[in-house]
Symmetry: C2
Subunit: 353 residues, 2 copies
């Protein structure tokens, strides 16, 4: 835990989120979902998608850019697929509903694919894909996001870091939970380097002329570098084509940032569930997964490496620690949260920083 963080019990943090959300008109059952998704990010060590975002959500609702009450409408459905319209509501509410629907369809058809349009930022993608795990299903999710990456060879941001998450049940002590952006790093890491006056590694970002840079200031004026060069660009583009274009949401440069209070943002995403039972007996599958997990974990290690982790395993360990000792929240974020509660006149049980 970094020194400038405070440990707060998860339920205290969730309760604060719920009260704040309800105060601006979010129905209690929906506030419950949004608080759970949001605090889960902080618990898993993904603070960039946690309570840090709450004030932005609230400000969008207050500005009339986001619906406090998320009302989902079924636009189309055919067998294993459904298209939902979130009608400007919360991505978290739409996301949970969409994955539940995908799981239901997968139970019947082996696979279920639910697309959502006109939503907003949904937090961490892994929250939704992990919902499939107790059902002995694979969960897959992808969302578009406001642009921060250039096309390969371009200089201006035309694609979001468009995350993709895949959660795969293993039947072991830990599941496989991949949750990755298409960029090498998040912009937050570059901001942090800029704040400390440090250089950034070559390969993280491009300057405004599209050249690789080690200068965080130049990087912040430029774009984030995609993983694997043209590969990450391709990945971000296919996610935008599916989550943005196909669903009927905003895409590319037309998708507003969460922090842009001048216009609505119509975020799109897709959720898929795949039932293991459609392809294998559970016991056979678990036996084979054990063998795969063992090979990976028991790989000979490079110098200085103590342990080989599965995707999402480090986040899972952080979550356990947060459950035990409290959720680490940066002092600055805690102060903002308290200020937000005060501004709304909501009594919260949060400690002073």
């Amino acid at each position: 835990m970094a020194e400038n963080t405070v440990l707060i019990p998860a339920e205290v943090l969730r309760e604060a989120c719920r009260r704040i959300l309800e105060k601006v008109g979010v129905p209690p059952d929906q506030a419950h979902i949004i608080a759970d998704v949001t605090v889960e990010a902080d618990m898993r060590g993904v603070g960039s998608h946690g309570v840090l975002r709450l004030s932005a959500y609230v400000h969008r609702v207050q500005a009339g850019l986001m619906a406090a009450n998320t009302q989902l409408r079924v636009v189309r459905e055919r067998g294993a697929t459904v298209l939902l319209d979130a009608q400007g509501g919360f991505g978290q509410v739409a996301g949970v509903h969409a994955m539940n629907l995908a799981i239901e369809r997968a139970r019947q058809h082996g696979v279920g694919l639910v697309a959502v349009r006109n939503a907003n930022h949904f937090g961490i993608a892994a929250y939704y894909t992990m919902m499939a795990l107790p059902h002995r299903m694979v969960g897959i999710a992808a969302s578009n996001a406001a642009p921060s990456m250039a096309a390969w060879g371009g200089t201006t941001a035309v694609l979001g870091t468009n995350p993709v998450s895949v959660a795969i049940p293993t039947g072991q002590d830990v599941d496989i939970v991949l949750d990755m952006a298409s960029s090498v790093v998040a912009r937050g890491k570059i901001r942090a380097a800029a704040a400390k006056g440090e250089r950034i590694p070559l390969g993280w970002a491009l300057d405004a002329e599209g050249r690789p840079t080690e200068d965080p200031q130049a990087a912040l004026k430029g774009t984030l570098a995609p993983i694997g060069g043209p590969k990450g660009y391709g990945l971000a583009l296919v996610v935008d084509a599916l989550a943005g274009v196909l669903t009927g949401s905003d895409y590319s440069i037309y998708l507003a940032s969460l922090h842009d209070l001048s216009r609505r943002a119509s975020v799109g995403f897709v959720m898929q569930a795949v039932d293991v039972a459609a392809f294998s007996e559970w016991e056979t599958y678990v036996e084979r997964m054990r063998s795969l997990v063992d090979v990976i974990r028991n790989s000979p290690r490079a110098p200085g490496v103590d342990r080989i982790y599965l995707p999402g395993e480090i986040e899972g360990l952080k979550r356990q620690e947060a459950e035990r000792s409290g959720v680490p929240v940066a002092v600055k974020v805690l102060e903002e949260l308290r200020a937000l509660a005060a501004e709304l006149g909501v009594p919260v049980d949060l400690p002073a920083a």
Copy 2:
């Protein structure tokens, strides 16, 4: 075109492949498919997956490690999903059949997901995903492969470069066809650098101790670097868990290389089709795709960049050129192909190198 290549009409090359395959017992309709998939790789500039591989296929068949006649068996099916057993046959035959089945299921259920087990190397993944395009569907494919990448932090190869392809119809002059491995580069590029005595860029590979290296010889004794570090590792792992473990195929270190004539290789893959019509009117979709494609292509360009390409566009241009002027085949590969034909006593119309 490189100087050490010969241009051969596509149909001449396909005919040579068909005759060679039929000679070792592949039924004519199957030889037709395998030749088409294989030559398509060379046409698209992916020579590493083209006729270069034919002798390995033939040698596996001759060694009794691969079935000349691919007989597919439906193991399970539920609504939108099917599991096929290729019973040791050709990946190309199983792949084409699987994608056709996925398209059929998608027409009915909106999405179709077909998994294949006990197959072999299927060539370029893009061949199958592009099959969905004329049906106004999105095609998705992923396959596992013999290990060449380490787990993140590991030193030995435990995962294949496990390709993922996504083809998205645009209704424009060019579609989006992503086909990417989970490694930064293919091993062939490192072999080429080693042959020329050149260094390789840092980031391409790790040495046998798991350290980044610029020495191609050390790299060939080590492993290929995954794109985005832990991200590419995660991507390769989820593909192996789905294509290998879930389907009931070999996985990780248990999957033999195409060139290992001591044992069978049971390759697994998954094919998915998503019907655009399940989510959008075609005309609306095409109008929106046009706008996305325009934004991407008209991005301001970095110095020295003449043009912004969509994923797969360069390969599509190479294919057009190969259609016009002939398929570029490396002299060495052409000689091997002629030697293979001679060895089998098959008359082929291939030019001498």
